[in-house]
């Protein structure tokens, strides 16, 4: 293990422990709930970093996986509500209002919470793998991937709003039961939810780190830097891309499930263009080529947003400021805050780590000027 990897693991571990210590200092349930939401966005941004920063797949539809995960969780929790909230024969209330007489077949398995939890990750993975198969086997790259994922997001969003009978339409799925696993109930306004999300964050962060440190992870980065060369080496580039795309979708699905638990509803805005755009912004600000950077970027930006939008004047102009910051970061600081931190680290290590620095830093070089997409 190189010294750099050790520092990286140390930093990641330190941040995770710091996050898990937060409830010891904060005992206001509402503030904890708010922080828990920021952490969920951190997981979501980290997932995007895996596909965008490490593999070069700019997924503008990251919110699709997030929203699908969130709906899976909500479907399961909806069916767990006490009979007061549901219609006859255990039908969810909005189906009764829409004159649905029988539970649709794809809702039935969600009676099992275990199925719901598995589906929250599996469904986004399957959808992403299918879309990825069509895109990457067709050798669609770069900007076209961005556009197709964006269109995918818009289509799924429209479908969910359109199929009100089965999805709750514009209102989403509300009035959910609380998540109960092995007799333990996770209250959305309690430190238990914070710990649940904190642990999920830690697990997914280190899982993603392990992926990037594996041989497959190195190939992913090679694909990002020069796809054709990897293909000449005999690797099936499409399969690796589908892999990264699906893993990212799975983690985003997990984040979506957690978001449903902490918000206590699922809404079509979770599959909205604005959210998807925000994820890209967080990632860019924090540093797309660093898992931790993307995660912290999300936490910092959403935290700032939460703090600033409480005051009247900023509520309106916030989006404007955010757009400005985003454009500035893209223009002047393409590697985000993590890039700046890395430059600092390089300077510190340079004096006494002469043998390893040139090799490892080569992997962090910006990709050579890519040929223009035409």
């Amino acid at each position: 293990m190189s010294r750099r990897t050790a520092i990286q693991i140390g930093t990641y571990g330190f941040v995770c422990i710091a996050i898990l210590l937060v409830p010891s200092f904060v005992d206001d349930a509402f503030i904890l709930n708010k922080y828990a939401r920021y952490l969920v966005f951190g997981i979501l941004a980290m997932a995007l970093s895996l596909s965008w920063g490490y593999t070069g797949i700019l997924n503008l539809g990251q919110a699709t996986s997030f929203g699908v995960g969130s709906y899976c969780m909500a479907m399961s929790l909806k069916l767990k509500t006490i009979p007061v909230h549901t219609g006859s024969a255990g039908l969810p209330d909005f189906m009764v209002w829409n004159n649905v007489t029988e539970l649709p077949w794809f809702w039935v398995p969600f009676h099992s919470l275990g199925f719901g939890l598995a589906a929250g990750i599996a469904v986004p993975v399957i959808l992403a793998a299918a879309l990825g198969w069509f895109m990457f086997k067709g050798r669609v790259t770069g900007v076209y991937v961005a556009i197709i994922t964006l269109a995918w997001l818009v289509v799924v969003n429209l479908l969910i709003i359109d199929q009100q009978r089965y999805t709750g339409g514009f209102n989403g799925i509300t009035d959910l039961a609380q998540l109960e696993i092995f007799g333990f109930t996770f209250d959305a306004y309690d430190s238990s939810i914070f710990y649940l999300i904190g642990v999920c964050l830690m697990v997914s962060l280190f899982f993603a780190l392990a992926v990037t440190k594996s041989k497959a992870g190195l190939i992913l980065q090679a694909i990002r830097d020069h796809e054709d060369r990897v293909r000449y080496f005999g690797y099936d580039v499409a399969n690796f891309k589908i892999f990264a795309f699906s893993v990212s979708a799975g983690i985003a699905g997990l984040a979506g499930m957690l978001y449903t638990i902490v918000m206590e509803f699922a809404s079509p805005t979770f599959i909205g263009v604005p959210l998807s755009l925000s994820v890209v912004i967080w990632c860019a600000v924090g540093g797309r080529q660093s898992l931790l950077g993307a995660m912290l970027g999300a936490i910092i930006v959403t935290g700032m947003q939460g703090a600033l939008s409480e005051s009247e004047t900023f509520l309106e102009t916030w989006t404007l400021i955010m757009g400005g910051i985003f454009v500035a970061v893209v223009l002047l600081m393409p590697k985000g805050l993590a890039g700046a931190a890395e430059a600092l680290l390089n300077r510190l290590l340079k004096s006494d780590d002469n043998e390893t620095t040139p090799i490892t830093s080569a992997a962090h070089q910006p990709p050579a000027k890519r040929e223009r997409a035409s």
Partner: protein, 304 residues
């Protein structure tokens, strides 16, 4: 003639009428798609910039039309040239300030233009308010005219004719003027073209401005048909990108053909199901298509 035969003839007549109505509706959708996609395709084909702010250019065009009509009282048709100039100027400024720094980072242009898009959207929301605005249809085109025995809105026909005319102008500009020749030279090889003394920076900004102006015109022309809101651009930009994905980027012919196909298919599907299902079906069809024909229907180049 037996009575049943007469009835079936009548039914066939009504059937034909319905089909012609559908074709005209489809053409109307196509003409708007073409207007939006044309600017997008020119900008992308020439500079390699994916302009996600294109939808906001459309929106700005619609708001300019609204502002000119509400505050100054200029009718829609008279203000078209002014709208084109305004949005083109805006596009030119954006290109000068932001885009020109990103020509060797094509993926980042998506992000930067997206950022510009949200800023434009929010700025309009702050200035003009978030509520829906309505632009009046020009009174001279408010009536309906008869086409193949079908009553059709004169304005929709006007949009169709104008879209085709603008397509012609663009084609002329690209293939029959020295500006177009320079532009095509840069598209083929920027370095060599520059070595021959072509000022590529200037051509790029003009191209970008022209594409933006076309989007602005599209926005102005849809404003009497649909309500005007700060978010209106998003749907147009996604649809226009589908046109570009389907048609390929090299040929103008691809753009017009795929606009026609997408408009007609969406129109017909929407007639039998509803708008959302039609959109979703068209999207899935395109995804399946790119698996087997990644370069689009009308292009020979790879998507890399």
């Amino acid at each position: 003639m037996p009575p049943t035969a007469r009835i079936s003839k009548k039914a066939a007549c009504r059937m034909a009428e319905a089909i012609i109505t559908q074709i005209i509706t489809g053409l109307s959708i196509s003409s708007i798609l073409l207007l939006v996609a044309l600017g997008l395709a020119i900008i992308y084909g020439t500079t390699g910039v994916i302009n996600l702010a294109h939808g906001e250019f459309v929106m700005l065009g619609a708001y300019t039309a609204w502002a000119l009509q509400t505050f100054i009282g200029i009718g829609l048709i008279e203000s078209l040239v002014l709208i084109f100039m305004c949005v083109a100027l805006f596009g030119w400024i954006i290109e000068r300030i932001v885009i020109r720094h990103l020509y060797d980072r094509p993926l980042d242009t998506i992000l930067a233009t997206w950022g510009v898009g949200i800023m434009a959207q929010q700025a309009i929301r702050l200035i003009a308010g978030g509520e829906l605005r309505y632009v009046e249809m020009p009174s001279s085109l408010g009536s309906s005219i008869s086409l193949f025995g079908i009553e059709t809105s004169a304005f929709r026909i006007f949009v169709l004719v104008l879209a085709v005319a603008l397509f012609g102008v663009t084609w002329y500009l690209m293939y029959r003027t020295s500006f177009g020749m320079k532009l095509r030279a840069i598209t083929q090889n920027r370095e060599v073209a520059s070595a021959f003394g072509i000022n590529s920076n200037r051509i790029y900004s003009l191209t970008f401005a022209y594409g933006a102006g076309l989007a602005g015109l599209a926005g102005a022309l849809v404003s009497p048909l649909k309500s005007v809101s700060p978010e209106m651009g998003t749907t147009y930009v996604v649809d226009a990108f589908m046109v570009v994905v389907l048609g390929g980027v090299e040929s103008l012919v691809g753009t017009i053909a795929s606009s026609a196909i997408l408009g007609e298919v969406t129109g017909f599907l929407a007639f039998y199901t509803d708008d959302t299902i039609a959109k979703a079906t068209v999207f899935f069809a395109i995804v399946i298509l790119i698996r087997f024909r990644p370069q689009g229907l009308f292009s020979t180049k790879d998507r890399s």
